[in-house]
Amino acid sequence: MTEQNDKNLERREFLIRTAKAGVAIAAAGAASYLLYDKKGPAQNTESEKIVTLPNFSVPHVQGQSLSIVKGSDRAKTAAKAIELLGGIERFIKPGDTVAIKPNIAFASPPMLGATTNPDLVAEVVKLCYKAGAKKVIVTDNPINEPAGCFAISGIGKAVANVGGEIILPKSSYFKNTTLPGGTLIKDWPILYEPFRKANKLIGIAPVKNHHRSGASMAMKNWYGLLGGRRNIFHQDINTIIAELAMLIKPTLVILDGTEVMVTNGPTGGSLSDLKRTNTLIAGCDMVAADSFACGLLDIKVSDLPYLAKAAAAGAGTTDYQSLKPILAEL
Protein backbone atom coordinates (compact mmCIF):
# COMPACT_ATOMS: atom_id res chain seq x y z
CA MET A 1 0.00 0.00 0.00
CA THR A 2 2.72 2.37 0.95
CA GLU A 3 4.69 1.45 -2.16
CA GLN A 4 1.57 2.11 -4.26
CA ASN A 5 1.11 5.52 -2.60
CA ASP A 6 4.74 6.35 -3.27
CA LYS A 7 4.28 5.57 -6.94
CA ASN A 8 1.09 7.69 -7.03
CA LEU A 9 2.84 10.53 -5.36
CA GLU A 10 5.78 10.29 -7.72
CA ARG A 11 3.42 10.26 -10.66
CA ARG A 12 1.49 13.25 -9.26
CA GLU A 13 4.70 15.07 -8.58
CA PHE A 14 5.91 14.28 -12.08
CA LEU A 15 2.70 15.59 -13.65
CA ILE A 16 2.78 18.78 -11.58
CA ARG A 17 6.35 19.49 -12.53
CA THR A 18 5.72 18.71 -16.19
CA ALA A 19 2.76 21.08 -16.17
CA LYS A 20 4.85 23.81 -14.57
CA ALA A 21 7.61 23.32 -17.12
CA GLY A 22 5.06 23.40 -19.92
CA VAL A 23 3.58 26.67 -18.63
CA ALA A 24 7.04 28.20 -18.38
CA ILE A 25 7.94 27.15 -21.92
CA ALA A 26 4.62 28.41 -23.24
CA ALA A 27 5.04 31.72 -21.43
CA ALA A 28 8.56 32.15 -22.81
CA GLY A 29 7.37 31.26 -26.30
CA ALA A 30 4.45 33.69 -26.08
CA ALA A 31 6.69 36.45 -24.81
CA SER A 32 9.18 35.80 -27.61
CA TYR A 33 6.40 35.88 -30.16
CA LEU A 34 4.96 39.12 -28.81
CA LEU A 35 8.34 40.81 -28.56
CA TYR A 36 9.69 39.52 -31.89
CA ASP A 37 10.33 42.38 -34.31
CA LYS A 38 9.60 40.96 -37.73
CA LYS A 39 11.03 44.05 -39.43
CA GLY A 40 14.35 43.81 -37.60
CA PRO A 41 16.29 46.89 -36.51
CA ALA A 42 15.17 50.03 -38.29
CA GLN A 43 17.56 51.05 -41.03
CA ASN A 44 19.14 54.40 -40.25
CA THR A 45 19.17 55.52 -43.82
CA GLU A 46 20.97 58.75 -43.01
CA SER A 47 23.89 57.14 -41.22
CA GLU A 48 24.21 54.11 -43.46
CA LYS A 49 24.16 56.04 -46.70
CA ILE A 50 27.45 56.00 -48.56
CA VAL A 51 28.70 59.56 -48.94
CA THR A 52 31.31 61.09 -51.19
CA LEU A 53 33.39 64.09 -50.35
CA PRO A 54 33.08 66.77 -53.01
CA ASN A 55 35.94 67.78 -55.24
CA PHE A 56 37.31 70.92 -53.57
CA SER A 57 40.05 71.61 -56.09
CA VAL A 58 40.34 74.76 -58.17
CA PRO A 59 41.19 74.95 -61.89
CA HIS A 60 44.78 74.20 -62.77
CA VAL A 61 46.98 77.16 -63.69
CA GLN A 62 50.11 76.33 -65.63
CA GLY A 63 53.24 77.12 -63.64
CA GLN A 64 51.33 77.82 -60.44
CA SER A 65 51.01 74.41 -58.85
CA LEU A 66 53.81 74.43 -56.32
CA SER A 67 55.63 77.15 -54.41
CA ILE A 68 58.49 76.80 -51.96
CA VAL A 69 59.42 79.61 -49.64
CA LYS A 70 62.45 79.71 -47.38
CA GLY A 71 62.10 81.54 -44.09
CA SER A 72 61.59 81.06 -40.38
CA ASP A 73 58.35 83.02 -39.86
CA ARG A 74 55.51 80.66 -40.74
CA ALA A 75 52.90 83.37 -41.14
CA LYS A 76 55.09 85.24 -43.61
CA THR A 77 56.26 82.21 -45.57
CA ALA A 78 52.69 80.89 -45.83
CA ALA A 79 51.38 84.20 -47.09
CA LYS A 80 54.20 84.43 -49.60
CA ALA A 81 53.80 80.85 -50.80
CA ILE A 82 50.09 81.40 -51.43
CA GLU A 83 50.80 84.70 -53.13
CA LEU A 84 53.21 82.94 -55.51
CA LEU A 85 50.45 80.54 -56.54
CA GLY A 86 48.23 83.44 -57.60
CA GLY A 87 47.14 84.79 -54.24
CA ILE A 88 44.51 83.62 -51.79
CA GLU A 89 41.84 85.00 -54.13
CA ARG A 90 42.62 82.24 -56.60
CA PHE A 91 41.57 79.70 -54.00
CA ILE A 92 38.99 81.43 -51.83
CA LYS A 93 36.06 83.45 -53.19
CA PRO A 94 33.75 85.74 -51.26
CA GLY A 95 31.06 83.74 -49.52
CA ASP A 96 33.02 80.51 -49.47
CA THR A 97 32.85 78.17 -46.53
CA VAL A 98 36.36 76.90 -45.96
CA ALA A 99 37.29 73.76 -44.07
CA ILE A 100 40.83 73.56 -42.81
CA LYS A 101 42.32 70.22 -41.81
CA PRO A 102 45.48 70.57 -39.74
CA ASN A 103 47.25 67.62 -38.17
CA ILE A 104 46.05 67.65 -34.55
CA ALA A 105 46.57 63.97 -33.91
CA PHE A 106 48.11 64.35 -30.48
CA ALA A 107 47.69 66.27 -27.24
CA SER A 108 51.15 67.66 -27.74
CA PRO A 109 52.44 71.21 -27.34
CA PRO A 110 53.43 73.16 -30.47
CA MET A 111 57.08 73.14 -29.44
CA LEU A 112 57.36 69.41 -30.14
CA GLY A 113 56.27 69.66 -33.77
CA ALA A 114 53.96 66.63 -33.64
CA THR A 115 50.99 68.76 -34.68
CA THR A 116 50.47 71.60 -37.11
CA ASN A 117 51.80 74.87 -35.80
CA PRO A 118 48.95 77.04 -34.42
CA ASP A 119 50.38 80.30 -35.79
CA LEU A 120 50.35 78.83 -39.27
CA VAL A 121 46.75 77.67 -38.97
CA ALA A 122 45.71 81.09 -37.65
CA GLU A 123 47.44 82.84 -40.55
CA VAL A 124 45.60 80.72 -43.11
CA VAL A 125 42.28 81.35 -41.37
CA LYS A 126 42.99 85.08 -41.52
CA LEU A 127 43.88 84.91 -45.22
CA CYS A 128 40.64 83.09 -45.98
CA TYR A 129 38.58 85.74 -44.20
CA LYS A 130 40.56 88.42 -45.98
CA ALA A 131 39.54 86.85 -49.28
CA GLY A 132 35.89 87.10 -48.22
CA ALA A 133 35.20 83.66 -46.82
CA LYS A 134 31.86 83.49 -45.06
CA LYS A 135 33.03 80.93 -42.59
CA VAL A 136 36.27 79.14 -41.83
CA ILE A 137 36.07 75.93 -39.86
CA VAL A 138 38.98 73.97 -38.49
CA THR A 139 38.52 70.30 -37.74
CA ASP A 140 40.32 67.01 -37.28
CA ASN A 141 39.67 63.60 -35.79
CA PRO A 142 42.58 63.23 -33.36
CA ILE A 143 43.57 59.85 -32.05
CA ASN A 144 43.88 61.35 -28.56
CA GLU A 145 40.94 62.99 -26.81
CA PRO A 146 39.87 65.76 -29.24
CA ALA A 147 39.26 68.65 -26.85
CA GLY A 148 42.63 68.04 -25.19
CA CYS A 149 44.37 67.89 -28.55
CA PHE A 150 42.90 71.18 -29.74
CA ALA A 151 43.77 72.81 -26.41
CA ILE A 152 47.30 71.52 -25.86
CA SER A 153 48.33 71.89 -29.51
CA GLY A 154 47.40 75.58 -29.19
CA ILE A 155 45.25 75.36 -32.32
CA GLY A 156 41.95 75.77 -30.51
CA LYS A 157 42.94 79.10 -29.01
CA ALA A 158 44.79 80.36 -32.09
CA VAL A 159 41.81 79.68 -34.35
CA ALA A 160 39.32 81.18 -31.93
CA ASN A 161 41.42 84.34 -31.71
CA VAL A 162 41.05 84.97 -35.45
CA GLY A 163 37.38 84.10 -35.68
CA GLY A 164 37.61 80.55 -36.97
CA GLU A 165 35.18 77.89 -35.88
CA ILE A 166 36.50 74.74 -34.25
CA ILE A 167 34.51 71.59 -34.89
CA LEU A 168 35.30 68.69 -32.62
CA PRO A 169 34.41 65.29 -34.01
CA LYS A 170 31.27 63.53 -32.79
CA SER A 171 30.19 60.04 -33.74
CA SER A 172 27.23 61.45 -35.67
CA TYR A 173 29.65 63.41 -37.89
CA PHE A 174 31.00 60.23 -39.45
CA LYS A 175 29.47 58.73 -42.56
CA ASN A 176 30.58 55.77 -44.57
CA THR A 177 32.34 56.29 -47.84
CA THR A 178 33.80 54.11 -50.57
CA LEU A 179 36.62 54.96 -52.91
CA PRO A 180 35.68 53.71 -56.37
CA GLY A 181 38.32 51.18 -57.34
CA GLY A 182 39.85 51.31 -53.86
CA THR A 183 40.85 48.21 -51.98
CA LEU A 184 40.84 49.56 -48.42
CA ILE A 185 38.40 52.46 -48.33
CA LYS A 186 35.22 50.50 -48.74
CA ASP A 187 32.13 51.45 -46.75
CA TRP A 188 34.45 53.00 -44.17
CA PRO A 189 33.50 55.88 -41.84
CA ILE A 190 35.09 59.26 -42.45
CA LEU A 191 34.63 62.58 -40.75
CA TYR A 192 32.05 64.05 -43.11
CA GLU A 193 29.73 66.49 -41.42
CA PRO A 194 32.17 69.42 -41.11
CA PHE A 195 32.84 69.21 -44.85
CA ARG A 196 29.23 68.82 -45.93
CA LYS A 197 28.59 72.54 -46.18
CA ALA A 198 32.15 73.55 -47.07
CA ASN A 199 33.08 74.26 -50.64
CA LYS A 200 36.83 74.67 -50.09
CA LEU A 201 39.28 72.46 -48.25
CA ILE A 202 42.81 73.31 -47.17
CA GLY A 203 45.15 70.76 -45.64
CA ILE A 204 47.95 72.04 -43.41
CA ALA A 205 50.47 69.50 -42.20
CA PRO A 206 53.88 69.42 -40.56
CA VAL A 207 56.72 67.42 -42.12
CA LYS A 208 57.44 64.46 -39.86
CA ASN A 209 59.22 61.19 -39.73
CA HIS A 210 56.75 58.36 -39.22
CA HIS A 211 57.67 54.98 -37.77
CA ARG A 212 55.21 53.07 -39.94
CA SER A 213 54.92 55.01 -43.18
CA GLY A 214 58.36 56.60 -43.30
CA ALA A 215 56.96 60.12 -43.32
CA SER A 216 53.79 61.96 -42.41
CA MET A 217 53.16 64.97 -44.62
CA ALA A 218 50.32 66.40 -46.75
CA MET A 219 48.92 63.07 -47.94
CA LYS A 220 49.20 61.27 -44.62
CA ASN A 221 47.39 64.21 -42.99
CA TRP A 222 44.11 62.96 -44.49
CA TYR A 223 44.45 59.83 -42.38
CA GLY A 224 42.95 61.99 -39.65
CA LEU A 225 39.62 61.97 -41.44
CA LEU A 226 39.24 58.23 -41.04
CA GLY A 227 36.95 56.97 -38.33
CA GLY A 228 36.54 53.48 -36.91
CA ARG A 229 39.47 51.32 -35.87
CA ARG A 230 41.70 52.95 -38.42
CA ASN A 231 44.85 51.40 -36.97
CA ILE A 232 44.09 48.29 -39.02
CA PHE A 233 45.29 50.29 -42.02
CA HIS A 234 48.77 50.46 -40.50
CA GLN A 235 49.20 46.95 -41.91
CA ASP A 236 48.98 48.40 -45.42
CA ILE A 237 49.98 51.96 -44.78
CA ASN A 238 51.20 52.74 -48.29
CA THR A 239 47.93 51.73 -49.90
CA ILE A 240 45.76 53.63 -47.43
CA ILE A 241 47.76 56.85 -47.87
CA ALA A 242 47.62 56.52 -51.65
CA GLU A 243 43.88 55.87 -51.49
CA LEU A 244 43.35 58.91 -49.28
CA ALA A 245 45.16 60.98 -51.88
CA MET A 246 42.71 59.68 -54.45
CA LEU A 247 39.70 60.21 -52.20
CA ILE A 248 40.43 63.76 -51.06
CA LYS A 249 40.72 66.51 -53.64
CA PRO A 250 41.69 69.60 -51.67
CA THR A 251 41.74 73.20 -52.78
CA LEU A 252 45.25 73.67 -51.47
CA VAL A 253 47.79 71.93 -49.29
CA ILE A 254 50.36 73.65 -47.11
CA LEU A 255 53.33 71.70 -45.84
CA ASP A 256 55.25 73.15 -42.95
CA GLY A 257 58.93 72.34 -43.12
CA THR A 258 60.02 75.22 -40.92
CA GLU A 259 61.10 72.70 -38.32
CA VAL A 260 60.79 69.06 -39.31
CA MET A 261 60.63 65.96 -37.11
CA VAL A 262 63.48 63.87 -38.44
CA THR A 263 63.45 61.07 -35.87
CA ASN A 264 61.03 59.20 -33.61
CA GLY A 265 57.92 60.30 -35.44
CA PRO A 266 55.07 60.69 -35.51
CA THR A 267 54.99 61.57 -31.82
CA GLY A 268 58.56 62.76 -31.24
CA GLY A 269 58.78 64.13 -27.74
CA SER A 270 62.27 65.55 -27.62
CA LEU A 271 63.38 68.80 -29.17
CA SER A 272 66.32 66.82 -30.51
CA ASP A 273 63.90 64.99 -32.81
CA LEU A 274 63.47 68.27 -34.69
CA LYS A 275 65.61 69.93 -37.34
CA ARG A 276 65.21 73.48 -38.53
CA THR A 277 64.89 73.54 -42.31
CA ASN A 278 63.04 76.86 -42.72
CA THR A 279 60.94 75.76 -45.67
CA LEU A 280 57.25 76.12 -46.37
CA ILE A 281 55.56 74.48 -49.33
CA ALA A 282 52.17 75.32 -50.82
CA GLY A 283 50.62 73.50 -53.69
CA CYS A 284 47.70 72.08 -55.55
CA ASP A 285 49.51 68.79 -56.10
CA MET A 286 50.05 67.06 -52.77
CA VAL A 287 52.07 64.22 -54.28
CA ALA A 288 54.52 66.79 -55.63
CA ALA A 289 54.58 68.68 -52.32
CA ASP A 290 55.34 65.51 -50.37
CA SER A 291 57.94 64.43 -52.92
CA PHE A 292 59.78 67.71 -52.53
CA ALA A 293 59.58 67.50 -48.73
CA CYS A 294 61.35 64.12 -48.75
CA GLY A 295 64.54 66.11 -49.13
CA LEU A 296 63.85 67.92 -45.87
CA LEU A 297 63.78 64.55 -44.10
CA ASP A 298 66.90 63.36 -45.90
CA ILE A 299 65.01 60.56 -47.58
CA LYS A 300 64.38 59.71 -51.21
CA VAL A 301 61.02 59.70 -52.97
CA SER A 302 61.51 55.97 -53.50
CA ASP A 303 61.70 55.50 -49.72
CA LEU A 304 57.98 56.27 -49.55
CA PRO A 305 56.18 53.73 -51.74
CA TYR A 306 52.87 55.52 -51.27
CA LEU A 307 54.11 58.41 -53.40
CA ALA A 308 54.59 56.23 -56.47
CA LYS A 309 51.28 54.48 -55.77
CA ALA A 310 49.42 57.79 -55.59
CA ALA A 311 51.16 59.10 -58.70
CA ALA A 312 50.29 55.93 -60.61
CA ALA A 313 46.68 56.37 -59.54
CA GLY A 314 46.65 59.90 -60.95
CA ALA A 315 46.66 61.81 -57.68
CA GLY A 316 49.69 63.90 -58.69
CA THR A 317 53.30 63.66 -59.72
CA THR A 318 56.44 62.68 -57.87
CA ASP A 319 58.43 64.63 -60.44
CA TYR A 320 57.88 67.94 -58.68
CA GLN A 321 60.47 69.64 -60.86
CA SER A 322 58.18 69.14 -63.84
CA LEU A 323 55.75 71.55 -62.19
CA LYS A 324 58.45 74.23 -62.20
CA PRO A 325 58.04 75.12 -58.52
CA ILE A 326 58.16 78.82 -57.74
CA LEU A 327 60.91 79.56 -55.25
CA ALA A 328 61.32 82.48 -52.89
CA GLU A 329 63.31 83.36 -49.81
CA LEU A 330 62.28 85.77 -47.09
Partner: protein, 317 residues
Protein backbone atom coordinates in the same frame (compact mmCIF):
# COMPACT_ATOMS: atom_id res chain seq x y z
CA UNK B 1 6.01 11.93 1.30
CA UNK B 2 7.95 8.81 0.39
CA UNK B 3 11.62 8.37 1.15
CA UNK B 4 12.52 8.19 -2.58
CA UNK B 5 10.85 11.55 -3.24
CA UNK B 6 12.66 12.98 -0.29
CA UNK B 7 15.91 11.56 -1.59
CA UNK B 8 15.23 13.15 -4.98
CA UNK B 9 14.47 16.49 -3.38
CA UNK B 10 17.56 16.29 -1.25
CA UNK B 11 19.61 15.45 -4.30
CA UNK B 12 18.15 18.43 -6.17
CA UNK B 13 18.97 20.66 -3.23
CA UNK B 14 22.52 19.39 -3.12
CA UNK B 15 22.98 19.92 -6.88
CA UNK B 16 21.45 23.40 -6.62
CA UNK B 17 23.77 24.33 -3.80
CA UNK B 18 26.73 22.99 -5.76
CA UNK B 19 25.78 25.11 -8.80
CA UNK B 20 25.32 28.18 -6.62
CA UNK B 21 28.63 27.50 -4.94
CA UNK B 22 30.38 27.24 -8.32
CA UNK B 23 28.75 30.49 -9.48
CA UNK B 24 29.80 32.18 -6.23
CA UNK B 25 33.34 30.90 -6.71
CA UNK B 26 33.42 32.27 -10.28
CA UNK B 27 32.10 35.64 -9.10
CA UNK B 28 34.65 35.76 -6.31
CA UNK B 29 37.39 34.85 -8.80
CA UNK B 30 36.36 37.69 -11.11
CA UNK B 31 36.37 40.16 -8.24
CA UNK B 32 39.77 38.95 -7.08
CA UNK B 33 41.14 39.13 -10.62
CA UNK B 34 39.82 42.65 -11.11
CA UNK B 35 41.13 43.79 -7.77
CA UNK B 36 44.58 42.37 -8.49
CA UNK B 37 45.50 43.72 -11.88
CA UNK B 38 49.13 43.50 -10.83
CA UNK B 39 50.36 46.83 -12.11
CA UNK B 40 47.97 48.80 -9.91
CA UNK B 41 49.60 47.13 -6.94
CA UNK B 42 53.06 47.97 -8.20
CA UNK B 43 52.51 51.52 -9.41
CA UNK B 44 51.40 54.23 -7.07
CA UNK B 45 51.06 57.30 -9.27
CA UNK B 46 50.38 59.52 -6.29
CA UNK B 47 54.08 59.22 -5.50
CA UNK B 48 55.22 60.34 -8.95
CA UNK B 49 54.17 63.99 -8.71
CA UNK B 50 57.17 66.33 -8.33
CA UNK B 51 57.21 69.06 -5.71
CA UNK B 52 55.33 72.18 -6.75
CA UNK B 53 53.36 70.30 -9.39
CA UNK B 54 49.85 68.88 -9.52
CA UNK B 55 48.35 66.12 -11.58
CA UNK B 56 46.86 67.64 -14.71
CA UNK B 57 45.10 64.59 -16.08
CA UNK B 58 43.70 61.27 -15.02
CA UNK B 59 45.84 58.17 -15.41
CA UNK B 60 45.30 56.85 -18.91
CA UNK B 61 45.86 53.14 -19.49
CA UNK B 62 46.36 51.58 -22.91
CA UNK B 63 46.83 47.98 -23.95
CA UNK B 64 48.06 46.46 -27.20
CA UNK B 65 44.62 46.82 -28.78
CA UNK B 66 44.28 50.55 -28.27
CA UNK B 67 47.85 51.81 -27.94
CA UNK B 68 47.49 53.46 -31.33
CA UNK B 69 44.94 55.82 -29.76
CA UNK B 70 47.79 57.40 -27.85
CA UNK B 71 50.80 57.12 -30.12
CA UNK B 72 49.33 56.32 -33.53
CA UNK B 73 51.90 55.02 -35.99
CA UNK B 74 54.55 54.40 -33.36
CA UNK B 75 52.40 51.72 -31.69
CA UNK B 76 53.83 48.84 -33.77
CA UNK B 77 57.31 49.60 -32.45
CA UNK B 78 56.04 48.67 -29.00
CA UNK B 79 53.49 45.99 -29.80
CA UNK B 80 56.11 44.09 -31.79
CA UNK B 81 58.47 44.29 -28.80
CA UNK B 82 56.44 42.61 -26.07
CA UNK B 83 54.40 45.65 -25.00
CA UNK B 84 51.86 44.97 -22.28
CA UNK B 85 50.48 48.30 -21.05
CA UNK B 86 51.03 52.02 -21.19
CA UNK B 87 50.19 54.36 -18.32
CA UNK B 88 50.29 58.10 -18.89
CA UNK B 89 49.65 61.10 -16.73
CA UNK B 90 50.29 64.82 -17.11
CA UNK B 91 51.65 67.05 -14.35
CA UNK B 92 51.62 70.83 -14.34
CA UNK B 93 52.69 73.66 -12.09
CA UNK B 94 49.69 75.60 -10.78
CA UNK B 95 51.92 78.67 -10.63
CA UNK B 96 53.06 78.51 -14.24
CA UNK B 97 51.04 76.64 -16.87
CA UNK B 98 54.10 76.50 -19.12
CA UNK B 99 55.71 74.15 -16.65
CA UNK B 100 54.00 70.95 -17.68
CA UNK B 101 55.06 67.44 -18.53
CA UNK B 102 53.64 64.07 -19.45
CA UNK B 103 54.81 60.77 -18.02
CA UNK B 104 54.68 57.69 -20.26
CA UNK B 105 55.25 54.41 -18.44
CA UNK B 106 55.43 51.52 -20.89
CA UNK B 107 55.25 48.08 -19.30
CA UNK B 108 57.27 46.02 -21.77
CA UNK B 109 57.06 42.74 -19.88
CA UNK B 110 60.80 42.41 -19.24
CA UNK B 111 63.99 44.43 -19.21
CA UNK B 112 65.17 43.18 -22.62
CA UNK B 113 62.03 44.45 -24.35
CA UNK B 114 62.23 47.71 -22.42
CA UNK B 115 65.86 48.16 -23.42
CA UNK B 116 65.01 47.40 -27.04
CA UNK B 117 62.49 50.24 -27.42
CA UNK B 118 64.71 52.52 -25.34
CA UNK B 119 67.79 51.88 -27.44
CA UNK B 120 66.06 52.11 -30.81
CA UNK B 121 64.74 55.58 -29.99
CA UNK B 122 67.83 56.99 -28.30
CA UNK B 123 68.27 60.67 -29.18
CA UNK B 124 71.45 61.93 -30.76
CA UNK B 125 72.11 64.71 -28.28
CA UNK B 126 71.53 62.50 -25.29
CA UNK B 127 73.19 63.20 -21.98
CA UNK B 128 73.59 59.95 -20.06
CA UNK B 129 72.28 59.92 -16.48
CA UNK B 130 74.34 58.09 -13.89
CA UNK B 131 71.50 57.15 -11.54
CA UNK B 132 70.15 54.46 -13.85
CA UNK B 133 71.78 51.73 -15.91
CA UNK B 134 69.96 53.02 -18.99
CA UNK B 135 68.89 56.65 -18.89
CA UNK B 136 69.49 59.88 -20.75
CA UNK B 137 68.03 63.31 -20.96
CA UNK B 138 67.65 65.92 -23.65
CA UNK B 139 66.88 69.61 -23.31
CA UNK B 140 63.20 68.96 -22.57
CA UNK B 141 62.80 65.27 -21.85
CA UNK B 142 64.13 62.28 -19.99
CA UNK B 143 64.13 58.63 -21.06
CA UNK B 144 65.01 55.59 -18.99
CA UNK B 145 64.64 51.88 -18.44
CA UNK B 146 63.46 50.84 -14.99
CA UNK B 147 63.26 47.07 -14.90
CA UNK B 148 60.45 46.00 -17.19
CA UNK B 149 59.40 49.61 -17.75
CA UNK B 150 60.46 51.96 -20.50
CA UNK B 151 59.80 55.49 -19.31
CA UNK B 152 59.47 58.78 -21.16
CA UNK B 153 59.01 62.05 -19.30
CA UNK B 154 58.26 64.73 -21.86
CA UNK B 155 58.53 68.39 -20.88
CA UNK B 156 56.16 70.78 -22.63
CA UNK B 157 58.72 73.58 -22.51
CA UNK B 158 62.42 74.06 -22.03
CA UNK B 159 63.49 75.41 -18.67
CA UNK B 160 65.80 74.62 -15.78
CA UNK B 161 62.85 74.42 -13.38
CA UNK B 162 61.05 71.92 -15.56
CA UNK B 163 64.21 69.86 -16.07
CA UNK B 164 64.61 69.58 -12.30
CA UNK B 165 61.01 68.49 -11.91
CA UNK B 166 61.42 65.91 -14.67
CA UNK B 167 64.49 64.55 -12.93
CA UNK B 168 62.51 64.35 -9.70
CA UNK B 169 59.84 62.26 -11.43
CA UNK B 170 62.53 59.86 -12.63
CA UNK B 171 63.80 59.53 -9.06
CA UNK B 172 60.25 58.99 -7.80
CA UNK B 173 59.92 56.17 -10.29
CA UNK B 174 63.17 54.60 -9.19
CA UNK B 175 62.22 54.86 -5.51
CA UNK B 176 58.58 53.81 -5.72
CA UNK B 177 58.11 51.30 -8.50
CA UNK B 178 59.42 47.90 -7.42
CA UNK B 179 61.28 45.88 -10.02
CA UNK B 180 63.26 42.68 -10.26
CA UNK B 181 66.73 43.99 -9.48
CA UNK B 182 68.33 40.79 -10.70
CA UNK B 183 67.09 41.34 -14.25
CA UNK B 184 70.11 42.17 -16.43
CA UNK B 185 71.11 42.10 -20.08
CA UNK B 186 74.37 40.15 -20.02
CA UNK B 187 74.88 40.32 -23.79
CA UNK B 188 75.85 43.98 -23.57
CA UNK B 189 79.12 42.87 -21.99
CA UNK B 190 79.90 40.64 -24.96
CA UNK B 191 81.18 43.57 -27.02
CA UNK B 192 84.92 44.35 -26.79
CA UNK B 193 85.35 47.49 -24.71
CA UNK B 194 88.25 49.11 -26.57
CA UNK B 195 87.09 52.10 -28.68
CA UNK B 196 83.46 51.39 -27.76
CA UNK B 197 81.21 54.46 -27.73
CA UNK B 198 79.42 54.17 -24.38
CA UNK B 199 75.63 54.19 -24.23
CA UNK B 200 75.08 53.58 -27.93
CA UNK B 201 74.19 49.89 -27.86
CA UNK B 202 70.94 48.91 -29.50
CA UNK B 203 68.85 45.78 -29.34
CA UNK B 204 66.70 44.75 -32.28
CA UNK B 205 64.13 42.15 -31.37
CA UNK B 206 63.23 41.82 -35.05
CA UNK B 207 64.53 42.71 -38.50
CA UNK B 208 67.89 44.29 -37.80
CA UNK B 209 69.21 46.25 -40.81
CA UNK B 210 66.02 45.54 -42.74
CA UNK B 211 66.65 41.79 -42.81
CA UNK B 212 63.81 39.77 -41.29
CA UNK B 213 66.01 36.82 -40.35
CA UNK B 214 68.26 38.88 -38.11
CA UNK B 215 66.33 38.82 -34.86
CA UNK B 216 67.52 39.37 -31.27
CA UNK B 217 70.43 41.40 -32.53
CA UNK B 218 72.63 43.63 -30.40
CA UNK B 219 74.63 46.43 -31.97
CA UNK B 220 77.34 48.71 -30.62
CA UNK B 221 79.23 51.65 -32.05
CA UNK B 222 83.02 51.94 -32.18
CA UNK B 223 84.98 55.04 -32.97
CA UNK B 224 88.56 54.73 -34.18
CA UNK B 225 90.21 57.97 -35.24
CA UNK B 226 87.36 59.55 -37.18
CA UNK B 227 85.92 56.25 -38.35
CA UNK B 228 82.63 55.04 -36.93
CA UNK B 229 81.83 51.34 -37.11
CA UNK B 230 78.71 49.49 -36.02
CA UNK B 231 79.32 45.95 -34.81
CA UNK B 232 76.57 43.44 -34.23
CA UNK B 233 75.83 39.94 -33.06
CA UNK B 234 72.81 37.72 -32.67
CA UNK B 235 72.75 34.61 -30.54
CA UNK B 236 70.92 31.83 -32.34
CA UNK B 237 69.43 28.63 -30.93
CA UNK B 238 72.43 26.65 -32.19
CA UNK B 239 75.47 26.51 -34.45
CA UNK B 240 73.52 25.32 -37.47
CA UNK B 241 70.92 28.08 -37.09
CA UNK B 242 73.74 30.63 -36.83
CA UNK B 243 75.31 29.38 -40.05
CA UNK B 244 71.95 29.38 -41.86
CA UNK B 245 71.15 32.90 -40.65
CA UNK B 246 74.57 34.17 -41.73
CA UNK B 247 74.19 32.62 -45.14
CA UNK B 248 70.67 34.01 -45.59
CA UNK B 249 71.84 37.47 -44.57
CA UNK B 250 74.78 37.23 -46.96
CA UNK B 251 72.44 36.20 -49.80
CA UNK B 252 70.09 39.05 -48.88
CA UNK B 253 72.91 41.59 -49.23
CA UNK B 254 74.14 40.09 -52.50
CA UNK B 255 70.59 39.98 -53.91
CA UNK B 256 70.23 43.68 -53.14
CA UNK B 257 73.37 44.75 -54.95
CA UNK B 258 76.16 43.75 -52.58
CA UNK B 259 79.51 42.63 -54.02
CA UNK B 260 81.59 39.92 -52.34
CA UNK B 261 85.14 41.00 -51.42
CA UNK B 262 88.17 39.22 -50.03
CA UNK B 263 89.18 40.00 -46.48
CA UNK B 264 92.63 41.56 -46.02
CA UNK B 265 93.29 39.08 -43.22
CA UNK B 266 93.43 35.75 -45.04
CA UNK B 267 92.82 33.86 -41.82
CA UNK B 268 89.50 35.62 -41.24
CA UNK B 269 86.70 33.12 -41.73
CA UNK B 270 83.89 35.62 -42.23
CA UNK B 271 82.55 37.19 -45.39
CA UNK B 272 83.14 40.73 -46.56
CA UNK B 273 80.64 42.50 -48.79
CA UNK B 274 80.74 45.92 -50.35
CA UNK B 275 77.23 47.29 -50.14
CA UNK B 276 76.16 50.72 -51.32
CA UNK B 277 79.67 52.09 -50.85
CA UNK B 278 80.09 50.69 -47.34
CA UNK B 279 81.58 47.51 -45.92
CA UNK B 280 79.44 44.74 -44.43
CA UNK B 281 81.01 41.80 -42.62
CA UNK B 282 79.33 38.58 -41.51
CA UNK B 283 80.82 35.76 -39.47
CA UNK B 284 79.71 32.94 -37.22
CA UNK B 285 81.25 31.48 -34.10
CA UNK B 286 79.39 28.78 -32.23
CA UNK B 287 75.78 29.87 -32.03
CA UNK B 288 76.59 33.53 -32.71
CA UNK B 289 76.15 35.39 -35.96
CA UNK B 290 78.16 38.58 -35.86
CA UNK B 291 79.72 41.20 -38.03
CA UNK B 292 79.96 44.83 -38.94
CA UNK B 293 77.31 46.99 -40.58
CA UNK B 294 77.71 49.97 -42.92
CA UNK B 295 81.35 50.74 -42.20
CA UNK B 296 82.95 53.48 -44.25
CA UNK B 297 86.42 51.96 -43.93
CA UNK B 298 86.85 48.28 -44.70
CA UNK B 299 90.14 47.92 -42.83
CA UNK B 300 88.67 49.33 -39.64
CA UNK B 301 85.59 47.19 -40.14
CA UNK B 302 87.67 44.02 -40.45
CA UNK B 303 89.66 44.92 -37.35
CA UNK B 304 86.53 45.37 -35.26
CA UNK B 305 84.99 42.20 -36.70
CA UNK B 306 88.03 40.13 -35.71
CA UNK B 307 87.99 41.54 -32.18
CA UNK B 308 84.29 40.82 -31.81
CA UNK B 309 84.68 37.33 -33.19
CA UNK B 310 87.49 36.57 -30.76
CA UNK B 311 85.46 37.88 -27.82
CA UNK B 312 82.31 35.96 -28.76
CA UNK B 313 84.35 32.78 -29.26
CA UNK B 314 85.33 32.93 -25.57
CA UNK B 315 81.74 33.12 -24.32
CA UNK B 316 80.22 29.95 -22.90
CA UNK B 317 77.39 28.80 -25.11
Amino acid sequence: MSSSVNRAKNLESVISFCILAILAAITTGIFIRQAHTGEKELIDFSKMTPAGFETASEIEVYNADNLYEKIDGKAPLYTESGFEKLYTRRFASPADPNLAMELYLFDMGNIRNAFSVYSLQRRADAETLPDFTFAYKTSNALYLVHGRYYVEIIGFSESIGLSKAILEVSQNIRNNIPIDKNAKIPELAFFPQENLVAGNAKFYLASAFGFEGLTNTFTAVYKIDDQTVTAFFSKRPGKKDAETTAENYYNFLIANGGVAKTAADKTFTGKVIEFDGAAEIIFTTGSFVGGVHEAENRQTAEMIAVKLLNKLALIKQ
